[in-house]
Amino acid sequence: MNPSLFSADGLVGLIFLLTIAITIAGGIIACNSERLVRAVAGLMICFIGVGALYYFLNSPFVAMMQVLIYVGAVAVTISFAIMLADPEQSSQHGPINALSGPFGFITAALLTVGLALIALKTMWGDEPKVNDGSVKIIGTQLLTDYSMVFELVSIVLLISIIGALVIAREGRKS
């Protein structure tokens, strides 16, 4: 079935391709730019593309969180870190192995083919929808079935804060 470009389905398909292009372009910028600030900008573009892809996967909540947390908070935090640290360090890197490029390409190709094969070979049955993925149902799940896991995330955050302080600080003055 190939919907016409000027139908609603065709337009949606076009937007889908556009989000994929944005994601890949962002990833390429993030990997290839010499300056760290530009790499972070590329990462932001990539995150926005991924957020849009989540929307296509019927997860508006996850899409929203992707933009809010990754584009909003994480990328800004990385930018702060770059500004506070020495930005000149990025231009000095050691000798790059000549084989790392081809090997990286082969690994990526194998992964792509593998994932594509998995997706194509699986008999995707007509599973009933578990839920509608709305904010309400996610909130209910987090505070009922997944309440313990939800609480445990706070320990992860606590450890991250302690760890960051321990590693970054000069230590107690005695």
Partner: protein, 470 residues
């Protein structure tokens, strides 16, 4: 109420960690008292875990928190081992920090957080819980590995571990997502139910998902294709952390690995064929690396790979029906006692900046410190698997289990590997007993580690005489 009784030891350790953070704000809190408080917390948690363990099971598999956690005798004993590892690691730390000055109360806090992550891992019965507990444990351990920023070796270790560990975490997440896609649930019970009615091999998503999850587990226990990081990281980490990583992390991961692999007979059947090769290569790669080492910590790291290999044999042999995991837990206890024993001895013998760290540094130890040398010999014999130590009994149970599961070849290779490993274990014993001492091995300061060494030396025999219920 049952829910909270199951995680009671975890609450003790977690609350202890937070209480220690609050105590850290006191001006006149000395380094020694912090260590004592944390040893006390671990001992209390151990006692609580013991009470929970002997209080009896309501059902063979209790579940808690709407099926997120499970508790069986297997997980409870794993919890006991982990808390004991924490206890002895704190003893090691107490002694270690009298000679190496980079400690602060957060060190012990992070150790307790890591222990709580490990306890959760042993009980996890659901992939999201598993991931969160894996992260709690790993994050705390990353920070502990890089705790001393003054030395470049430590930074190298933490960077290697952090990067590769992050990849392992990503593999796990991807695997969990694929399993959810295939089986429609992240809960072990429901995945197992799905697999009971559907063939495992007909679902490529499930095959790929379980493969990625198993890769993450194998990375964490340093099994064959993913073992390269372990020598540098164990060598670079501070001594108490190395001891804790080698024993606690391994116990936690093998507990959850066993819980995961016995989900379904079909799934286990598929992976057992591959785990066979993983076990063989892990044992022999570990032996090859260990034979080449001159540094004691690096040798212990490499021998940790070998012990992972034996434990994978136990996983291969374990049956999905009436799973008890007795053999695995017995071997883990024996391994933990011997390894921590060596580390407690190294804690007071190592000296400032871990000065004595190679085989040659321990020449003639038996003439100067006969008791310590005898204890180290006991630990080495236990790791090599010589009767009547716990290590021998552990290997004996694993080999007989493998034979019972028709894995004759694996059993034979396990014995061959065990004979090979004697080369580097006995080398240290020969150094200690048959060479002339070159120094006086003076130890400064009052410390707890010698006590820990003696307790562990006794427990190596005690565990050996404790019958395992197969």
């Amino acid at each position: 109420m049952l829910d909270f009784i199951i995680i009671l030891p975890l609450l003790v350790v977690g609350a202890g960690a937070i209480a220690l953070m609050l105590l850290a704000s006191m001006e006149n809190l000395s380094e020694g008292s912090t260590a004592l408080v944390s040893i006390g917390i671990f001992a209390f948690a151990f006692a609580v875990q013991l009470m929970v363990s002997v209080s009896g099971n309501v059902a063979p598999y209790e579940t808690a928190f709407s099926g997120m956690l499970t508790a069986s005798t297997f997980t409870k004993v794993a919890g006991l081992i982990i808390l004991a590892c924490g206890l002895f690691s704190c003893m090691i730390a107490q002694t270690y920090f009298t000679q190496n000055k980079f400690s602060s109360p957060e060190f012990y806090s992070l150790m307790m957080f890591a222990a709580s992550g490990m306890l959760l891992l042993t009980m996890a019965a659901e992939l999201i819980t598993l991931f969160i507990s894996l992260e709690i444990m790993s994050l705390a351990i990353y920070v502990l590995v890089g705790y001393d920023r003054s030395r470049i070796k430590r930074s190298e270790a933490v960077l290697k571990y952090l990067m590769l560990g992050a990849f392992a975490g990503a593999f796990f997440t991807m695997g969990a997502a694929l399993i959810y896609g295939g089986a429609g649930s992240t809960r072990f019970a429901l995945i197992s139910k799905y697999l009971a009615t559907n063939s495992f091999l007909e679902s490529p998503v499930l095959v790929a998902g379980t493969l990625l999850v198993i890769v993450a587990f194998l990375f964490k226990v340093a099994a064959f294709p993913f073992h390269a990081w372990v020598v540098d990281v164990y060598d670079g980490a501070p001594l108490p952390v190395t001891g804790f990583m080698a024993t606690g992390v391994k116990t936690a991961i093998f507990a959850v690995f066993a819980n995961f692999i016995v989900l379904d007979n079909g799934m286990k059947g598929v992976w057992v064929d591959y785990l066979f090769y993983v076990a063989v290569f892990t044992m022999f790669a570990g032996n090859l690396i260990a034979i080449g080492q001159n540094n004691l910590k690096r040798m212990l790291a490499a021998s940790g790979i070998v012990h992972s290999g034996y434990l994978i044999i136990a996983l291969v042999a374990v049956g999905t029906e009436n799973f008890t995991g007795g053999v695995i837990i017995f071997y883990l206890a024996a391994y933990a006692a011997a390894t921590l024993g060596v580390f407690t001895a190294l804690a007071y013998l190592g000296g400032t900046d871990e000065r004595r760290d190679s085989f040659d540094d321990f020449k003639g130890l038996a003439k100067v410190r006969p008791y310590t040398a005898a204890a180290i010999t006991i630990f080495m014999l236990s790791m090599a698997g010589i009767p009547p130590t716990a290590g021998f009994m552990g290997k004996f149970y694993i080999i007989t289990d493998a034979i019972r599961a028709d894995q004759m070849l694996l059993a034979v290779l396990g014995i061959v590997s065990s004979i090979l490993s004697m080369w580097y274990y006995l080398r240290l014993v020969i150094m200690m007993y048959f060479k002339e001492p070159e120094e006086s091995f003076e130890v400064s300061g009052v410390s707890l580690a010698p006590v820990g060494t003696m307790i562990l030396a006794v427990s190596v025999f005690a565990i050996g005489f404790y019958p395992v219920f197969l």
